[in-house]
Symmetry: C2
Subunit: 477 residues, 2 copies
């Protein structure tokens, strides 16, 4: 998540129409107040969006926390000692928000929203009127739903102040369990292992990221975890947390795992209670339903980030719990529109990527696992390529797997595992899915060849070429 | 260049029609012989292409050199000590070509081609008949056209055996001059400086790569060369090489530069004399003219690689002297077609990239310099972005400059300078130009956000967004 206030009139996309819309017919300026609930990437993106669209708008952000201007996504890397200290995660000072005209109320809870009266009820402040309202209430970790959830020593990674405290705890932790191989679970497993803590990973699926990544993509990750001393317990159900006051073990379908600390990295669920109570329509994922302008079912009320759900570009299946980059862009959209501008947020094709063990994994849209679960037919193109000339120092493997629609051979998804250039390839492949590139397009694409930075044959090109070859051999082309 | 023989039926694209075409109507196999002149990336790509299309074809490759199976592109990096020795550049053994059924004749000169008789005249072998012929005769460095060109100590980087000899010479070189800041000149300047040699660069343009790269992209490169102790002499004409038997200085419009060695990195010109003598049509660049199937003006005769010219995708201006990756793909196309298959090589959008000083530079299609020279109007979108979260170790700057057609805002070119992910972005941007992506498409593209591998805002997205903002401010959107 980013926390740098936008310059008014800066990179927010605002139409000329919008810039004029806050003058009345008589030419008097009409005061406008936007209330934003939540100070994460979506909330701050929204605040910047409002200010860009309508520089004189009053913008108030309510957050339960002590800070807004930091990157929670960096927390696992401080725990893993890749980043030297938490101070580096703070990216803007509270004064910068004041200067940008964004009034952040820290450690403040919004108790209730009355959309009919256009008021929010703030603990300690009473009723606060708004012209437009933006929900950016984020996510919560799913309740593990097992006994012992009230024990000490269960760490839910979220807030930076708590992370600083937990980091001191980690100094004396010898053995930790990570519950669920979600994206955060994967990051924390890697980080704890890097830190030299004996780490166990418990997950009900057969491989990490079992609902989104494919087993062949995750196999090298599991192997590198083994090298780092991680013990993985897949196909394993969580039964409970064991201990007297403080957790001393995790109980699973595979037996008890003694430990000093548990990272509870269950999947994220939309924090949409307040929105639901206010009468906003909630979708099948539990997220607030929004249109392309990030407007909810109630006029004048917007939502953005992890509390919403967004349709997948190809399948229209609603997705919840995307990245900070998505949250920020959604926030900007909601804020621009709440400020009287006009900006759309389209369905998503979901480029993703993260370090995992000693590898970088990533992809776009979906892989075989999801396609199979959704009953979507596909043909495959795969390649084991390299990131530089094979003789150049630090050359890294790059495995690319492409899924295409049978017949048209339009790309519908991709997954990658390798050593470098994964994020840039994932970004490209998401655009390739969005714009309907086919195996033919990718097989004939040109690529940079320069020994230190790129191999003669780009792995994406080889994967598409191999996909075409397989079809040809099978008589299907 | 790559030198791994293609598996027959491997990644070459061959139509079903082609696979059947070498049986006569009576079902007897018709013998087929393809002669290839040149053992570089284009020649060996062609040999693999023929074998993939027509496994029983007789394929003979003639090369003037002692080797084929190595990467000349790696030579500057061995000189620069990034790669430890020349052995690493050898990628396949001579036996591998024998096993692949490719008959390479080393240290052999083809003296003449008679396309009417379908014969080549080979020094020491006499007349050799062919069914199809492929020119892959590569490039030569342009004659510097100044006195002293016959002195010892002038190094033209090309052949690996000579490079090994020159590498030993470099051990005792204190001061070197690189003539012209061409792509090879840029690489060699960086390499010689890395090696600790006092290096001077002489070039008639105002900045390095003065005909293709933009000055703002090259400015950080020049600065990093200064840090490495390189003295650049731009706007400086070469007057001659000075010395008695061995070069002792380079004479320029800016005075004499004493030196022990000169790397002559003048621009590449097509080595098309043999083709021209054989009556093949030659284009304005001096390269052999080919169609999409890499066929020359003479039926049954193909050409590929640096001896040809290929139209630029947008401007149709013929380009000569592309990369090893282009040469290899052209070779495969020529070989496939020469073997009776059907494969097309389309106009190029030219992703490029190379290390330069401490930076990586790259781009796609063209930059401002070329657009201006060609009289092509454009609007700009620029951004100074970063490659990872700003707090993550080894985060690198990434400057992106996008050129779009006024009005439609379709991308027509891009240039980049930065620390990592340049090659992957250049590949993507070439596809973006080819497929007509607009500033709007790029400004709304999703990107991976993960602190260790990607920033919240992808620099390409920021550049497109800034381009739109500039247009909006100027009232042009």
């Amino acid at each position: 998540m980013v926390v740098i206030p936008e310059r008014p009139g800066g990179s927010g996309v605002t139409s000329a129409r919008a810039a004029a819309s806050y003058e009345s017919d008589e030419g008097f300026r009409v005061p406008h107040k936007t209330v934003i609930i939540g100070g994460g990437a979506a909330g701050l993106g929204a605040a910047g969006g409002v200010k860009a669209a309508r520089p004189d708008a009053e913008v108030v952000v309510y957050t339960e926390y002590e800070d807004v201007a930091y990157s929670p996504c960096g927390i696992p890397y401080v725990h893993g000692k890749e980043i030297s200290d938490f101070d580096k995660l703070f990216l803007a000072s509270k004064e910068q928000y004041v200067e940008a005209g964004i009034d952040v109320h820290y450690e403040t809870t919004v108790a209730k929203v009355d959309t009919a009266a256009r008021k929010v009820h703030v603990d300690g402040e009473g009723a606060v009127a708004y012209d437009t309202l933006i929900f950016a209430t984020g996510f919560e970790y799913a309740d593990p739903g097992v006994p012992g959830s009230d024990l000490d020593g269960l760490y839910y990674v979220k807030n930076i102040r708590r992370a600083m405290e937990w980091d001191r705890v980690l100094d004396s932790v010898k053995k930790a369990v990570v519950v669920e191989a979600t994206p955060l679970g994967v990051e924390m497993t890697t980080s704890l292992a890097h830190r030299g803590i004996e780490t166990h990973l418990v997950d009900p699926h057969s491989w990490p990221l079992g609902e989104m990544a494919d087993p062949d993509i995750m196999a090298p990750v599991e192997e590198s975890w083994r090298e780092l001393g991680v013990t993985s317990h897949f196909n394993t159900e969580l039964r409970g947390f064991v201990g007297q006051g403080h957790v001393t073990a995790v109980s699973t379908s595979d037996g008890e795992i003694p430990c000093d600390l548990v990272v509870v990295a269950t999947h994220k669920v939309a924090n949409a209670r307040l929105a639901a109570d206010a009468g906003l329509k909630i979708g099948t994922t539990g997220g607030v339903i929004v249109d392309e302008r990030m407007q909810t079912s109630v006029p004048g009320v917007y939502a953005a980030g992890d509390c919403t759900e967004i349709p997948h570009g190809l399948t229209r299946v609603p997705l919840q719990g995307l990245t900070g980059s998505h949250a920020y862009a959604q926030g900007k959209t909601a804020g621009t529109n709440a400020g009287g501008g006009d900006r759309k947020y389209k369905a998503v094709y979901v480029p993703w990527g993260t370090p995992a063990g000693k590898w970088i994994i990533g992809g776009a849209s979906f892989g075989e696992t999801t396609a199979t679960a959704l009953g979507i037919p596909y043909v495959l193109g795969q390649a084991q390529g390299i990131s530089r000339a094979r003789y150049y120092p630090d050359v890294k493997p790059v495995k690319v797997k492409l899924l295409a629609e049978p017949g048209s051979l339009r790309l519908i998804g991709a997954q990658i595992v390798g050593g470098e250039g994964i994020k840039e390839r994932a970004d490209f492949l998401a655009m390739a899915v969005k714009h309907g590139f086919t195996f033919h397009d990718l097989a004939t694409m040109e690529n940079v060849y320069s020994p230190a930075i790129g191999a003669l044959n780009e792995p994406i090109v080889v994967a598409a070429t191999n996909g075409l070859d397989e079809l040809r051999k099978a008589g299907k082309l």
